[in-house]
Symmetry: C2
Subunit: 241 residues, 2 copies
Amino acid sequence: MLEDCSCASYIATVQLEKLTRQRQGEVRKGYDDACGTAHGLELLGDRWALLIMRELLLGPRRFTDLRRDLPGISANVLSQRLEELEGRGLLRKVRLPPPAARDVYQATAWGLEIKPVIIELGRFAARSPGHDATLPLSPVSLMTSFETMIDPRKARGFTGRIGVQMGEETFIAQVEEERITVARAPLEEAAAVIGGEPEAIAAVVYGGGPAESLTIEGDVSLARRFLTLFTLPPKADARQS
Amino acid sequence: MLEDCSCASYIATVQLEKLTRQRQGEVRKGYDDACGTAHGLELLGDRWALLIMRELLLGPRRFTDLRRDLPGISANVLSQRLEELEGRGLLRKVRLPPPAARDVYQATAWGLEIKPVIIELGRFAARSPGHDATLPLSPVSLMTSFETMIDPRKARGFTGRIGVQMGEETFIAQVEEERITVARAPLEEAAAVIGGEPEAIAAVVYGGGPAESLTIEGDVSLARRFLTLFTLPPKADARQS
DNA sequence: CCGTATCCAATAAGATACTG
DNA sequence: CAGTATCTTATTGGATACGG
């Protein structure tokens, strides 16, 4: 009797473990590899996961914000990813106090540490011959690209706080000592404010388009010089080595 | 008539494009996002892809080497990934000249540039409360972890070339000016040689285990000090922020 | 031995409709 | 608005058989 039961019991135990793991947002399919990189992929290797974290780099977002800025993600997948990432400790679901009374998703302190991975992966992919820079671009992507692509040589001697307005969203990029920091912030303290769609700003900064397609307020010459501080790396020759 | 045909013709065109893309090893499912990070995920976001690149960081490998060091990957998935990565320009399949006459997979110059992503993802994941350091570890993973976890404070004043032998595979780690470089190399020029399974070496370096479980030849005190140059970061508190 | 190709069962992703 | 539920399709992994 006991022997007859043991197999079914084992299966039930395995399935219970699986359910428990899923409920806690833990890893579903491990790589069976102690390498940190492998564990990193278990945490963030699911489709959309890293892009969700990218959208949280500059502050909390609502479900609908994320859905809009991740073109093509479906509601159920976004919902599932958010649960998993929360279970893994990378973000938290926070209910804003009334009268807002809305849920926002906020990266944890540890979750924000993924930023170097996002930066380096962006830098790597910018050298891809297959990179299509004409696709849609989210405001956070554009601001993060500034951190990746700032060219210290061009930024020498440049100091200033430049506001960037894209629809309802406003950011400030502060350049000082050949370094740039970006943050969500009101535009009051900006010496100049650049306005436009993310794709239009990218076209000027990275595509050499004319700055006339953007709106600029405040110190116009400072803003125009800001738009020239960034350099895309040369495309890789995939045939080499 | 033409209207009746157009739909079927459109479907045929779409399917042809899909086949063409698959044959060229290009991206199957895009993120429709100009962000470099998103494109990076299209290049390397498939399951196993980044770990395959990790295994190529320190030189070309054969199919069977990869299969052994990526526990759990199946032959058909490995085969498919290698084709895709070759089509994307990240690695090349190279036939060694006779008498070896074997195929090896070698990262391209551009493909090797993924290394900062692997390093940073490993650094991030090392802070995960869920990281299980007792799982299997490949030789390349261990050597790469040395580059990630070298502690400049502990390495101050340390200079030397330490050989590491794991089964048939040999590496040299060179430490100088608080920096480390690792490479596949014969052991002749090493001042000391540490031998053992990757997991055993990791247990000493990161788990505080006794160095007696390893074999050490040459300058034993140098080798023992080498084993203390690395620090795991503290675990993240997932509840914070 | 070194892979490749094919089939199958289990999962994950995507599309769509629906509910509080 | 903020998600769930359900259904369909695509991908994965494992087993196995096959070719050089």
